[in-house]
Amino acid sequence: MKLKSLAFVATAVLALTINLAAARAEDLKMAVTTSFANSGLAEVLLPKIKEDTGLNVQLLVVGTGQALALGAAGDVDAVLVHARAAEEKWLAEGNGTHRREIMYNDFIIVGPSADPAGAAKAEKATGALTAIAKAKAPFVSRGDDSGTHKMEQRLWKAAGIDPQGDWYRAVGQGMGAALNTAAGMNAYILADRASWLNFGNKADLKLVFEGDPVLFNQYAYLPVNPEKYPSVNADGAQRLEEWLVSDTAKQLINDYKIAGQTLFVFNAKAE
């Protein structure tokens, strides 16, 4: 009896272990940034991509730094990121075939609704950051080498400030986790607009600064070099690129809104 029940457990476990590999559509792995995934645009684009191209795009949601590393290791077929300098370095190292600009969104500065540093009164993004640094108001930095983090570092540099001290907190995490930290500490943070609008735990935070053109955030599509990794689905990556720059994509991207606000502006150029 005991033997029987043990045998039953063993059989049940074995049955579960067997991989029920069903026939699948053609898979394409793309590493994307957390800010793109958090925007919710992927849920609009992916079903349509599947319908039009037959590609089942599997997203690996990571920071820009890790996305490029996964591409350099040949573990994904393409990357969609937003950090131009890092992208060009990555291309120069022979990791990808080319860089295609697809769309842009913008960064915003989010902070406590009382705005103790007076960042909202600034005219430029650098001015807002200077105000925060002067007031030593708590500021949460992504600190994870992501595109957002790189943008933040560029802004500090442009403002001529080396952010240091108790008020500057680098959390080393994704956009969502960093926003959670900022909400918990009632701190300022640089975020992309899409992540902010979709964020469910706003607490006492509000948007304090927006609109400076330096905050525009260009997304680019970079297929991984098939000469370096023959296992890469280069044909699929090519078809996905053609779709991403098509009129269908243009309309879906430009029409995507959260809370009545447009998030992305399509700006791919025909070749």
């Binding site: 958090n38 690996l60 290791a73 040949g74 573990d75």
Partner: protein
């Protein structure tokens, strides 16, 4: 507080509507972790028994090492498994990265030391009782291991369940090697991390409650099927 009640309500809603995505990630969680537990048990029980009845020079070192490995940080295991199975790594040609198989491998590495250590501990105690009997019966080494494993099955089940418990709640390793790909490698723990990142605490907690429920259900099922706590001493 509000998030907790929201989480409970959301968990209930997902359960009564038989949410398809929930079913998919729960089934994958269960499949990956049960497979990893099976692998870890197949390695850990005989290894634990072998360590208990054999005396060799490095025994103390091996046992100390196993005990230390019980605290392996999953994220380190994940990174190591990633590096090995990456396309640029030594086993990259297998193309296993971002599949449930590699998640099983990572979890099995994490829990094998636990299963082995607990099994070793249990069998060592049993071996003290059985030593003279098995020696006088002139049992072979393999027969001794078999007898000890069978008679210590209850403690060994605890070993397997401890391994299962650690693996089912593990997120660091499977996030790296599985990639949390929707409809491919997303499991309960990585989905919880994702929802937390989106600030959707209600949904994250709902999945957390379902994970806890799943762990309880598996443990209960194993105990009922193996009829523990019924006889005077089974």
């Amino acid at each position: 507080m509000n998030s907790i009640s929201l989480g409970l309500a959301e968990a209930w809603r997902l359960l009564i509507t038989f949410d398809a995505d929930l079913f998919e990630i729960t089934a994958l969680s269960l499949r990956v972790t049960l497979s990893a537990t099976l692998v870890a048990t197949l390695i850990g029980l005989p290894l634990g028994a072998w360590l208990a009845i054999n005396r060799f020079r490095m025994r103390r070192v091996v046992i100390a090492l196993l005990n230390a490995l019980m605290g392996l940080p999953p994220v380190v295991v994940g990174l190591l498994v990633y590096v090995v199975f990456s396309r640029s790594g030594p086993l990259g040609v297998l193309g296993l990265l971002y599949t449930p198989t590699v998640m099983v491998i990572a979890q099995a590495i994490i829990i094998t030391p636990i299963v082995t250590s607990i099994a070793h501990q249990a069998i060592r105690d049993l071996w003290a009782d059985y030593h003279d009997l098995l020696i006088s019966l002139n049992a072979t080494r393999w027969q001794r291991i078999q007898a000890l494993i069978w008679d210590g099955r209850r403690a060994l089940m605890t070993a397997a369940l401890a391994g299962f418990g650690r693996a089912i709640g593990e997120v660091g390793a499977v996030m790296i090697v599985g990639g949390n790909i929707d409809h491919a490698t997303r499991i309960l723990t990585t989905a919880i991390a994702l929802e937390t990142g989106k600030g959707e605490f209600g949904m994250a907690l709902a999945l957390g409650f379902i994970l806890i429920g799943l762990a309880i259900a598996v443990n209960l099922a194993v105990h009922i099927l193996s009829r523990t706590e019924t006889g005077s001493r089974w």
